[in-house]
């Protein structure tokens, strides 16, 4: 198989995961798309250095992490959430852990998250849906749900935490994918 054909397979297998990694660190979705493209281009240019015995995902995620730090230095903090080398390292390990969920594709692994959403409290689920699916900010969510601003923040934080705990349960029960 030619390098280019192999690379296309690797892009298809890993683009969604790298994009989620970037969306966890980069505020602006347009910049995340640009960085995604750049990460794979850098990976292509350095394909000769990639050790094919190791998984490709963590390698390209490492490239994406360096680009995020660069991006934050260039454009300032308004475009990128707080991150440094150490934070990106912890985040990378969290993504590696997510990768152990059952499922061949990233979308199939997301099924665990979809299932876990059903286990949230009503307020947690509503806050998460309004924020992520409808793009509402905390203030708007608090008006919509008629609860306090701080309560919305807590519902979102606790909701995300509950989702992680639920997904971890599936990692141990569902086995390694």
């Amino acid at each position: 198989m030619e390098s280019h054909e192999l690379f296309e397979i690797l892009v298809r297998e890993n683009a969604d995961m790298v994009r989620a990694f970037l969306l966890s660190s980069v505020r602006d979705p347009g910049s995340a798309e640009d960085l995604l493209q750049e990460a794979f281009l850098v990976a292509w240019k350095n394909l000769g250095k990639y050790d094919r015995k190791l998984p490709f995902g963590p390698w390209v995620r490492g490239i994406a992490g360096k680009l995020v730090l660069n991006h934050r230095r260039k454009l300032g903090r308004s475009k990128v959430y707080f991150c440094d080398d150490e934070m990106l390292g912890v985040l990378d390990r969290s993504f590696a852990e997510f990768h152990t969920l059952a499922g061949d594709t990233f979308d199939q692994k997301l099924d665990a998250l979809r299932q876990c959403l059903t286990g949230l409290t009503d307020h947690q689920r509503a806050s998460i849906e309004l924020h992520y699916e409808h793009g509402l900010h905390c203030r708007e969510i608090s008006q919509r749900l008629e609860i306090g601003f701080e309560a919305v923040k807590k519902h979102l934080q606790r909701g995300r935490n509950a989702l992680l705990v639920c997904m971890r349960g599936k990692m141990s029960v569902g086995g390694v994918g």
Binding site: V11, E86, L110
Partner: protein, 300 residues
């Protein structure tokens, strides 16, 4: 103050807390993991995914061709580069069209009510069928819109048309007509608006997402312009050319998108439905209005 206070729900804070303990870093990374997964899940669709992969592979192909041709074209490139530098000194690199469309899409997703001055034009080469109509359009995500204006040159003939996300309705003053029906009966709207103005165009979110991620559309960021409104930053002009007329009969489109925020300040859609006939729809952003779901509901 803990990391929990710094990094709230929308993760708006970007400054580093003074001292993050290992536990706080772990907590923050876990919040970010789920945040990234939820953002990814909310914007995942097959067409978008395929377009993303194609864009990556195209950039790789461009790099490969570039390397292959480099030996032969080095001198020409150097010359062109020098000429380009001399001619376009000071012009900065434009962002990618796709990235701008993505920003615009993100901005349009927020649950606010926006108004646009909408102009619909129909021109024929002979000049016999020329029509220009002007409306005020108010929209909100979720297929909610209110269109108000004169349907013909008769000043008594006022049209109000709206949709609350499910029900479409229209109210005309002269002749006095009122109609309502489910959204999927939008062909009925042709009786009010003519066959070239479709309610699909009022859902800018859908227009942008379709043109931005549909495979047979050539998208280009062509120009950076200074903002023309108070407080408006630079805008990027994005042009789209459709290979087919599958996308709501649109053949060409042009968008002005504020670079820093993704605000869509202007959209122009056009096509040639018949030889010698051109339709054009332009939407000029007027601003946000007070939130109110009532305006979209059927008034009777």
């Amino acid at each position: 103050m803990t990391a929990h206070d710094f990094f709230d729900d929308t993760i708006d804070e970007s400054s580093a807390p003074p001292d993050l303990s290992q536990d706080q870093r772990q907590w923050l990374a876990e919040q970010r993991l789920v945040h990234g997964l939820l953002r990814s899940m909310a914007t995942a669709d097959a067409a978008g995914r395929e377009h993303r992969v194609e864009t990556i592979l195209e950039s790789v192909d461009a790099h490969r061709s570039h390397r292959r041709a480099w030996g032969l074209a080095a001198a020409a490139l150097l010359l062109a580069g020098l000429m380009g530098y001399l001619l376009f000194q000071g012009i900065e690199r434009l962002p990618q069209a796709k990235a701008m469309m993505s920003q615009a899409l993100n901005h349009l997703s927020s649950q606010v009510d926006r108004t646009y001055r909408l102009t619909a034009e129909l021109h024929s080469d002979s000049g016999k069928q020329d029509v220009v109509q002007a409306f005020l359009l108010t929209t909100r995500p979720g297929k909610k819109f209110l269109l108000e204006g004169q349907i013909t040159f008769d000043p008594r003939s006022l049209l109000r048309m709206g949709c609350d996300g499910e029900m479409l309705w229209a109210l005309m003053s002269n002749p006095a007509v009122r109609w309502s029906g489910p959204l999927d009966r939008r062909e009925k709207i042709a009786e009010f608006l003519g066959k070239y103005l479709d309610v699909e165009f009022f859902d800018l979110h859908k227009v942008i997402s379709t043109l931005g991620w549909y495979g047979r559309v050539d998208l280009r960021a062509v120009q950076r312009l200074p903002g023309t409104r108070a407080g408006e930053g630079s805008v990027i002009r994005v042009e789209a050319t459709c290979e087919t007329t599958d996308v709501f009969r649109i053949e060409r489109a042009e968008f002005l998108i504020e670079e820093a925020t993704g605000l869509l300040t202007y959209a122009e859609l056009s096509g040639n439905p018949e030889p010698g006939l051109t339709w054009k729809l332009s939407l000029d952003y007027s601003g946000e209005v007070d939130p109110g779901e009532d305006r979209y509901r059927r008034p009777w």
